[in-house]
Symmetry: C2
Subunit: 116 residues, 2 copies
């Protein structure tokens, strides 16, 4: 579909676990970092990662539902940005601490190594 107007949750209704779950995935964490490094918004098309469009759309939906990210539609294309200030209000220090840890995000699915 074309970029539609999406519902963005009120951050007061977003739970911490939801945000953590959204961040606990390499691809999504990478997206968040990319947006943070931008200090503004980024065109959907310019998010180029080695994944299918549908997968990217899926991840963005999850980030959006977790209140991490915001969509703005302009004609047929859309722009993504971090809801950093609102997040700071709801979860003080969280985003910053996640971003300040600058080490590379692994390509692997995080929890893979947790079991053993």
């Amino acid at each position: 579909m074309a970029p539609r107007e999406h519902a963005h949750p009120d951050l007061h209704e977003v739970e911490l676990v939801t945000v953590l779950a959204a961040l606990a995935e390499p691809t999504r964490l990478r997206i968040v970092r990319m947006l943070a490094a931008l200090e503004g918004e980024r065109a959907w098309k310019d998010i180029d990662l080695p994944i299918a469009q549908s997968t990217l759309s899926h991840h963005l939906k999850i980030l959006r539902n977790a209140g991490l990210v915001q969509n703005r539609t302009e004609g047929t294309r859309c722009f993504i940005s971090l809801r950093d200030e609102e997040l700071e209000g709801r979860f003080p220090g969280l985003l910053e601490s996640v971003l300040s840890c600058g080490d590379p995000v692994p390509l692997q699915t995080a929890a893979e190594k947790l079991r053993r």
Copy 2:
């Protein structure tokens, strides 16, 4: 098995995504909060949650592998504590921001609502 000596990872080898994944589960987040509220260590047996022993053991292993938690064995029983200071060194502000958000942890599996 009886409480055995477990390997605890060097925090420098623990990745951020790993920690986030460990925290992004209600039961585990609850355990971490419980330990944080204690300001010390807690006996395994005293962690009473409505889950089977084997499940608790499983979650503790994941927290341990993520470097969040530490086991100390004493005879046949063991004590769990948060590795808060080390974590502060590796991921400054992270644990604090997670703990400071005091709202209740849902019983539900976090990411359940993210998809839709």
